[in-house]
């Protein structure tokens, strides 16, 4: 559950009852994963389309760091294949 205050997005994690503030990029990643779980390559492609940016190693590295952070905050989890991620509890 989330709400946007201008360029800050507040997310309430119904599984943990924790509240987080995300920037628009992080929120878009979470939103994309809510639509459909994705591995790093798929996610980079979809984010590239969303923000009209080139998909390259730099973007993938940025996404990998972000996914680790989101995972540490219990906002996402790995799917059973171990490669894809999805929002926790979805």
């Amino acid at each position: 559950m989330w709400h946007a205050f201008d360029d800050e997005i507040v997310v309430f994690n119904c599984a943990s009852d924790d509240t987080h503030i995300l920037n628009p990029f992080s929120a878009e990643v979470l939103s994309v994963l809510e639509e459909r779980s994705a591995n790093l390559t798929e996610l980079a492609e979809r984010i590239g389309v969303c923000f009209a940016i080139r998909v390259d190693d730099h973007l993938e590295h940025q996404l990998l760091t972000l996914l680790d952070e989101l995972e540490q905050q219990d906002l996402i989890e790995r799917t059973s294949d171990g490669e894809s991620r999805r929002p926790l509890g979805s």
Binding site: M1, W2, H3, F5, E8, V10, F12, D17, T19, I21
Partner: protein, 319 residues
């Protein structure tokens, strides 16, 4: 309906001994039983304008303040607080019976009143527009709240703010304002005519006293107010006083950590805060001089137009 102040000393003491005294504080009715003269004196001094309820009415909090017997009485004259049969604190020195009642009553609210989001904050109102002052202990929140109500703001609560999820309004619980140490003299100078109860030195918080809530605020305890401003106050020596706009997302997060039952309410708590923040201007506020602080907040209130509140809870956030 009789007010506490309408009862004679004998009637008040008798009702307290029998446990038949019922005081209405906003949406709550508290039944009080105590043989202690200090409780009768404290209630008369601070709760004189509060309405009583007839025995037999539903009681939310059944409070009992009793002298401690048994072996503990050798530790000095002590008093114990119970609410609905539970005892949240160890016994206190009997001279602190009235402060214990105040602390205990707060405990009753934040451990029971889960139909509301209970925020650790003062709330005052201009007309039907509420100003929320969330802050930890020691930040000058109660001093500022006392100053504002002495200059015409309506008191909705000093230490606890009740946010009603159904409509996003603050439900008043106007009660005595707790003042500590230097704040006592600040308010005496700022409002010499203000009525204060007895002062209790040498508590764990230093010297404390209570400011009697304005009679008008007590009489209008049934009138909720919609949120308009969220101001995080901080007393700072040397500050010239300034209101700085504060991020709405950060404001929400700070309120979430200041609410007693945010996690317990889950999504309802989150949606209530989203709605509150959307309807409010948010500021951080440093101040030193109380008079100047009140002027600044008066100007803020006079110059702002209401923001559109969000519709009801179900659609207040994207999900």
């Amino acid at each position: 309906m009789a007010r506490v102040g309408d009862l004679s000393d004998r009637e008040l003491a008798s009702a307290l001994r029998k446990g038949s005294l019922r005081i209405r504080t906003g949406p709550f009715v508290t039944g009080i039983r105590s043989p202690l003269g200090a409780i009768a004196e404290g209630l008369r001094a601070l709760y004189g304008d509060f309405p009583t309820e007839a025995p037999g009415r539903f009681v939310d909090f059944r409070v009992h303040l009793a002298p401690v017997g048994g072996i503990r009485r050798w530790l000095g004259r002590q008093v114990v607080f119970r609410c609905n049969g539970r005892r949240p604190y160890l016994p206190f020195p009997r001279r602190l019976a009235m402060p214990l009642f105040e602390w205990g009553w707060n405990w009753c609210v934040y451990t029971h009143a889960h139909r509301y989001l209970v925020i650790h904050a003062a709330v005052v109102a201009r007309g039907e527009r509420a100003l929320l002052l969330p802050a930890p202990t020691g930040s000058g929140k109660s001093t500022l709240c006392a100053g504002l109500v002495q200059r015409g703001w309506r008191l909705l609560g000093d230490d606890l703010a009740l946010l009603r999820p159904e409509d996003g309004a603050f439900v008043p619980i106007p009660r005595p304002i707790s003042l500590k140490n230097d704040s006592i003299q600040v308010i005496r100078r700022f409002a010499p005519a203000a009525t204060m109860g007895p002062a209790w030195p040498d508590t764990r918080k230093g010297t404390i006293t209570h400011l009697r809530p304005p009679a008008d605020s007590v009489a209008r305890a049934g009138q909720a107010a919609g949120p308009s401003w969220v101001v995080f106050p901080q007393f700072r020596a040397g500050s010239r006083g300034r209101l700085v706009p504060h991020s709405k997302a950060q404001s929400l997060l700070r309120l979430a950590t200041n609410a007693f039952n945010y996690s317990l309410l889950g999504a309802t708590g989150f949606q209530s805060l989203v709605r509150l923040i959307e309807a409010s201007e948010c500021y951080e506020f440093e101040y030193e001089d109380l008079g100047h602080a009140v002027e600044l907040l008066d100007k803020m209130a006079a110059s702002s137009v209401p923001l559109s509140p969000l519709p009801l809870v179900a659609s207040s956030s994207e999900s």
